[in-house]
Amino acid sequence: MQPAGSSWVTLLGDSERRGGTTGARNTAPKELIWKVTLGDAIRSSPVLADGLLLVTCRDGHLYALDARTGRERWSYAVPAAAHSTPSVSGDLVLFGCDDGAVHAVNRTSGELRWKAQSEGAVWTSPSIHRGTAYFGTDGGVLNAVDILNGRTRWSRRFEGRIHSSAYATDDRVYFGCSDGGVYALEPGSGADAWRYGTGEGVTASPAVKDGLVLVGSEDHVFYALDAGSGAVRWRCQTGLGIASSAAVHAGKVFFGGKDGHVYALAVADGREIWKSPPVRQITAAPVAGASLVCVQAFGATQAYDLNTGAKLWTASLGGSLGSTPIITDDTVYLATFPGVVYALR
């Protein structure tokens, strides 16, 4: 169980992309604790660190809200819309902006510490590993910057847009690209380790588990690639493209499809454990907990039993597209496309 005030510091909770929660909530949230309406749509997912809920908004702000009350502690303005899910590392909050930069802001004061400029809007969530932040851009550039000062360590240009947030390990940096490739680069130099070409763009963010890179493609296939070589270990055909990032938990990988299904597959061999009845298309990443899988799907938050896929509850709170909820022991935090952030009990 995650106590209140616990951390959910980046996309899908932590850099392992486990889907974030160990909470065992089996019932729908029944009570509104607070809600805050921001200045424009929210395209990103909120993150949580030490009682601070951090959310970017298309009105060009990063908002830091008190997780218990919803009151704004501070906000930081950027020159353009923000679509990037923030990442917290130490006392810094990093997030991308449509101005082509990643901004690093002090978590307590909201003051700018540094800014790393690149080319093209940054919709990805910065992935932080051993003092380096990795982020891709709409202009097809993958950047590695020093988290202390934002200086570029290396950058690489690719043929397509990068909307897939990188997954960094000691050995490799993995990400997808709209040119159809899943890439593995050397983290120190950015040199190619391998590339696997899928049949369409890869906009979902990969997860890595048990030596497998797990990622869906717009070519209607979910792939498990050998993390060392890029060879296909298994694949799963779906009905339409996949934009939802995968969450990995308890030997299973979960993702949503544009065909409206939530899929639960065995990490080891890709066997389908369950597949939900279809809702409208799903582009958000699911979160997984001790007993449930939860996903925002076109106007409603759906929760399924982790092991069987049976529907547990639905919460209709308005449109939400790419945002993933945060589920702690006592609270569910949701951000919606109309720009409303909810805290529910």
């Binding site: 020159p79 819309a81 919709w123 097809g140 209607h220 449109g319």
Partner: protein, 388 residues
């Protein structure tokens, strides 16, 4: 700025155009209860020979390819062949590049008006957009001067338009703001609007998207699909209701004013002058439940593109295709006026026998009366190409 007035007699189905501030002749006046007046304020833009109905009035090329879909996935190379051969057939040019060069210059800022309202299978497809962008690049238009736009950024985001198009192409939702050349633009132009009061609504203006002002050419990429109010959502509706905001107010169940609103909005000079080409995505098509078509039972693999410069003619052929499909499955005509056919949204999603509105596909004929193209089938040259 120029302001023009259109008065529609809902009882007679007639439309009269006058000059703003000048009363219509008594013979054209009708009781206010059956009149819809639409005032269009827009800048004077000279109408070149490219303006709707464009270089080839009445010509519609239908390019089909049996391999356009394979295992549920659109095959981009096949779409490219359909587009290239269709453009050559439309223009008579021997190369696709020369065909495109009849409409587009390298210095143009080209806006692609897409239709993202629906599921991934019932919206302008990304392979078609990529092929159009490739053709524009081949003419010399750099990707940074290509804008993909619609009113709804959320719909475009869900479909992946922001993620999957070539680097440099701008994807703009008119409901947001964007920066171009260091200048922040808002979605709608406050000086260009249509004023009408359909049902006593509070906000009676519909503003035109700023992208229309920014672009020098518009390539229209609608979908081949039925629409629960206007009969079909084709070239004309994709332009009118995708470039002006606050248009859903023209429907109030079961009545819709899509006729004449769609046709009148398309006469706004910037839209008429700049919309030089219409390429209708019929790779998958919809015969019922549109525009969103949540029920996949109403979607069929038509594997075709309709290409033309005359939006009326293209929409007329689309109307005939959808009507034929509805006849094939035993669904009522789009012109049906039987009150028994009116049903709820849930009924409409379940059954092709039901609909929420009395559909008004006559907006296509109205557009013809306003000079936007040819309505009569005898005046339309419908050429079919089977490619592969």
């Amino acid at each position: 700025m120029n302001r023009r007035t259109f008065v529609y007699n809902t009882a007679l189905g007639t439309l009269h155009a006058g000059l703003f501030g000048i009363p219509l002749p008594a013979s054209q006046q009708t009781p206010s209860s059956v009149r819809l007046q639409i005032d269009i304020q827009a800048p004077d833009v000279p109408l070149s020979k490219l303006a709707m109905p464009g270089l080839f009035p009445g010509r519609v090329i239908q390019a089909s390819h049996a391999g356009a879909l394979l295992n549920g996935r659109i095959q981009q190379p096949a779409v490219g062949q359909m587009l290239d051969q269709g453009m050559r057939a439309l223009t008579g040019e021997s190369s696709a590049r020369d065909a495109w060069a009849k409409f587009i210059e390298p210095s143009d800022i080209v806006a692609l008006k897409v239709n993202p309202s629906g599921t991934p299978t019932t919206t302008t497809s990304i392979p078609l957009m990529r092929e159009v962008i490739r053709a524009l690049n081949a003419v010399g238009v750099p990707s940074r001067n290509i804008i993909v736009f619609d009113r709804n950024s959320n719909q475009m985001e869900v479909l992946g338009y922001h993620n999957l198009l070539p680097v440099g192409v701008r994807v703009v939702g008119l409901d947001g703001e964007w920066v171009t050349g260091g200048r922040k633009r808002t979605g709608y132009d406050p000086n260009v609007f249509a004023e009408m009061n359909c049902f006593g609504e509070r906000e009676t203006r519909s503003y035109m998207g700023s992208v229309v002002s920014e672009a020098t050419k518009i390539v229209n990429l609608p979908c081949l699909k039925e629409h629960n109010a206007s009969g079909v959502t084709g070239c004309l509706k994709n332009l009118a209701y995708g470039c002006f905001n606050n248009v859903a107010r023209t429907h109030r169940f079961p009545k819709t004013y899509t006729d004449p609103a769609i046709a009148v909005l398309c006469t706004a000079a910037p839209l008429r002058a700049k919309s030089v080409l219409h390429i209708m995505d019929g790779i998958r098509a919809v015969y019922h439940g549109g525009p969103f078509a949540w029920n996949p039972d109403f979607v069929w693999d038509a594997k075709t593109l309709l290409i033309g410069t005359d939006p009326v003619a293209v929409d007329r052929i689309e109307l005939e295709i959808v009507e034929q499909k509805r006849r094939d499955v035993g669904a009522p005509s789009l012109w049906d006026r039987n009150p028994q056919s009116i049903g709820s949204a849930a009924d409409t999603d379940r059954s092709a026998q039901k609909n929420r509105f009395y559909r008004e596909p006559a907006h296509i004929r109205t557009a013809s009366e306003l000079g936007l193209g040819r309505w009569e089938l005898e005046q339309i040259e419908h050429r079919k190409l089977q490619i592969g």
